[in-house]
Amino acid sequence: MSTPAAEHAPGLSPADGVAARARGLTKAYGSGETAVLALDSVDVDVVRGRFTAVMGPSGSGKSTLMHCLAGLDTVSAGQVWLGDTEITGLRERELTQLRRDRIGFMFQSFNLIPTLSAAENITLPMDIAGRRPDPAWLEQVIDALGLRDRLRHRPAQLSGGQQQRVACARALVSRPELIFADEPTGNLDSRAGLEVLGFLRQAVDELGQTVVMVTHDPGAAAHSDLVLFLADGRIVDEMERPTAEAVLERMKRFDGVRAAVEDTGRGTDGTGADGERRG
């Protein structure tokens, strides 16, 4: 495998390309009459060097979208590319390598291996690949995230915010083409959450990193460059340079529609989606 991290040197001008792309991305669970469409022919471009947030009510398919883009889940139909690589159709082993070498992950909780120290957790993906991290870059990331005096600690000895910072460092240190963050602030208090969002923002602005974050918190989404709104498996809206208030307003409309649908007693998916699109 070439060194895609090098191809994607940080600091390139933003929006100079597409980090990930999906066309007609469809994901169905079950089959026949009981089939549920989690993603319904989604087209999306994740622009390189930008901070994209994916929002939507629970069950809207936002986590599924992230899983499919990251090669964690298989798709029912459609195509997904990471950079120039079409990942739909890659084999399990190739997908594992792709995640290891070209993607960084942050999850809501249980981000770290409890038996490894913070330092070992940070370099884990590169260790697994048998590559040595660039020492200068590693030092820079550790200092940027303020983890210098926490490196020897085990996860159990770290606070929630510190744990997420370690996860963030892990995602950054291999200079992946894309970082996926799934509700990274979901389990944190607001101060620690803000800190983590600040680091992600910094990674995009100062290091040219590409970040996709799934969240349901409008405050978190406000740190992004672009918010994609997902509902019932479709991208129904997007918002550039969002503010918390605007996002909240937009989200309220989902709730409003839902309430209206429930009021009229017509709870089918189709009507719900129509209602949103009309709104």
Partner: protein
Amino acid sequence: MLRATLRSFLAHKGRLLLSALAVVLSVAFVAGSLIFSDTVSRTFDRLFASTAADVTVAPKDDFGSRVATGAVRTVPAALADRLARVPGAASAHAEVRADNVTVVDAQRRFLGSTTGAPTIASDWYVTDRSPVELTSGHAPRGAGEALLDADTADRKHVRIGDTLTVMAQPGTLRVRVVGIATFTTTNPGASHVYLDPRVAAAKLLGSPARATGVTVQAAPGVSDAVLKQRVVAAVGAGAYDVKTAAEHAKSSAEQLGTFLDVIKYVMLGFAGIAVLVGIFLIVNTFSMLIAQRTRELGLLRALGADRRQVRRSVLTEAVLLGLVGSTLGLAAGIGLAAGLIRLMGAFGMNLRAADMVVGRPTPVAAYVVGVGVTFVAAYLPARRAAAVSPMAALADADVAGVGRPLRTRAVVGAVVGALGVAALAGCAAASRTASAASLLGLGVVLTLVATVVAGPLLVRPVIRVLGGAFPALFGPVGRMSQRNALRNPRRTGATAAALMVGLALVGGMSVASASMSASFDQQIDRTLGADFVVQNANFIPFSEEVTDRVRGTEGVGLVVRQRFAPVALRLPDGRRVTTTASGYDPRVDDVAHVTYVGGGSAAALAPGGIGMDADFARDHGVRLGSVLPVEFPGGRRAALKVGALTDQDAAEGFGMQGGVFLGLATVERYVPGGQDTALYVNAAAGTDADRLRPRLERALNPYPQVQVRDQADYKELVHDQIAVLLYLVYALLGLAIVIAVLGVVNTLALSVVERTREIGLLRAIGLARRQLRRMIRLESVVIAVFGAVLGLALGLVWGVCTQQVLALQGMKALAVPWGTIVAVVVGSAVVGVVAALLPALRASRMNVLAAIAHE
């Protein structure tokens, strides 16, 4: 609550499966050994009861000695005529039966059993109680004909018309097989040849006027007891052993009983190992299940279940497991017994599986063991479950595998361990065998308990070392596997304990047996001076012709014969010691290097002389020149003068208390008709020993019952005999390993489930399936090797202490079989790899997304 318990039992049945297997194995061995020994003893009771004559008259057996002298004890054949005239006797038969013949076929193949069962030649005398019947051919007529038993005929492919050579004490006879006799009941494994009753006594006993016993049948209406009284009155009390059918059956069964007891104890030993190791497995499983169900149990408590109910719920689950395991184990035990019965058939003992006896105690024992073991093993985990607070339901599920402090274990382990070490030290310092052996037993048990208790404390330091190279060798995968093994020391300790117990036994036994071999080697080097020893493997005497042949071989110089004789010594300290004496020809000093403390072989081997071990003599107040009253079988007595005191280390080890020896002429005089047990042969001056050997072998070709051995061969023979002990140990090891593997599989499988999210995370950030499998495999290996190292260390200590006890019996050499020990460590790593196969596969098949989402 019961419904919740049942639901939980069924929900976890997959995880309980391995525990159930451990229960099944333990119960199967308990039930199998009981069924087998019941079946065997029932079969033989029936055989002896149905075939014994109403009254049997035999030569007086005042010694009870089993040593093979080669002499056949006889009664006058005319006794039968006298007894036939006793009132109430219907008939009397003079029985001729030689238990120590050798039968060889035309190709000079040995027809006897290779397992040490006797070859018996007797007269062909059929009554309604005979255990055999003629199934083909005709009864033997005259000196040239014989019958052979069907089992031997089948096994050795002998047919009617074949010629056999029968070597008996008076001489060799060649006979043609004219018929096959088939056992109508069970043949205990011996080979039988039947001769014409008119010639049997002359050919087998050397005189037509002798018999080995008389069987008397009662007339109708006369009870065995009454007939016995009249027979005793007729022959005089004390002259012969007179037994009724019931008494005869009982003493026959007792003789067989010692052999069957060995099998029974071996089987129960297996059962013990299975139970012991199984307990670890069950404790571990229940502990892990309860750790996983902490929230569920907390919820039950929050909903109002009290501690007793929670505890009872877990114990009910254990009892259910025990019941299921016992039932399956009972069935497996029946299968095991059937297998053993078939195996005995391969050794010539024909038992019929159809006669299998499942006595009432068997199922009782099966359920008591199965349910009892499970209950006991689950008791502590159940108490721990009851201690779960209702808050556990509300708290976040904590990361798997947080251990509680091990302080209690440290204290108990240290105290018990100190006591155990003290006992072992005492055993090593003891000077008397009996007290040393009991201290050894105590020390073994205490140190085992201490190691099991303190095992979790040893996990950290030992695995740090064992897995120390893992990060360097296997990178992050190695690092994680080492840390995973360290994660829950209690669990790792318990899992490894199962393996440890078995390997400690193996380590101890292999050190002991290697030391025995080495001691015998030293002994042989020191004492055996002859170029060759002619004897058979089982110390069974052989006929005079062998001796003649050896003497007649060109190039043979000195031949010193050895013969055994049972003796009872009346010692100056008032004790009467029954032992086995060896009789030697003069010039024994030319074939053996004996150290004389006082006197010499000339005086000891002269007529009226005797020699013995100096230590034994000192203990009993015997001095050089003492005159001791000595009793021989058949009521013969002599006063023998002590002519030599020797320094014999290993005499006791050979089972010959006192190391008593005397002249062969003396033996011949007091135990007439004996046969030689060994010949020590030196090449004649000017003849090369290497040249002599093929000549000796050629000369002895017609006598496959004896072999020519030089010093090296002789050592090998001793090693082979010790190796039998080792095979038993290896079989125990095999069983212990099977159960230990189940334990490791169990632990890994549950750990994999517990670490589902962690595994999901690793897979998400790019750990390949192969790497994940390797991680689990390495964890398994490190646990297994930990158990092996602990077990072998313990076993080495035991072995060294055992050798100290053996040293008191003259086995002074200590040998540690390093090759075996290294092989066991390597083997345990393989065991680890095997145990990890399924859990690793399962982990690598885990769906990444499901694993991440796992709560």
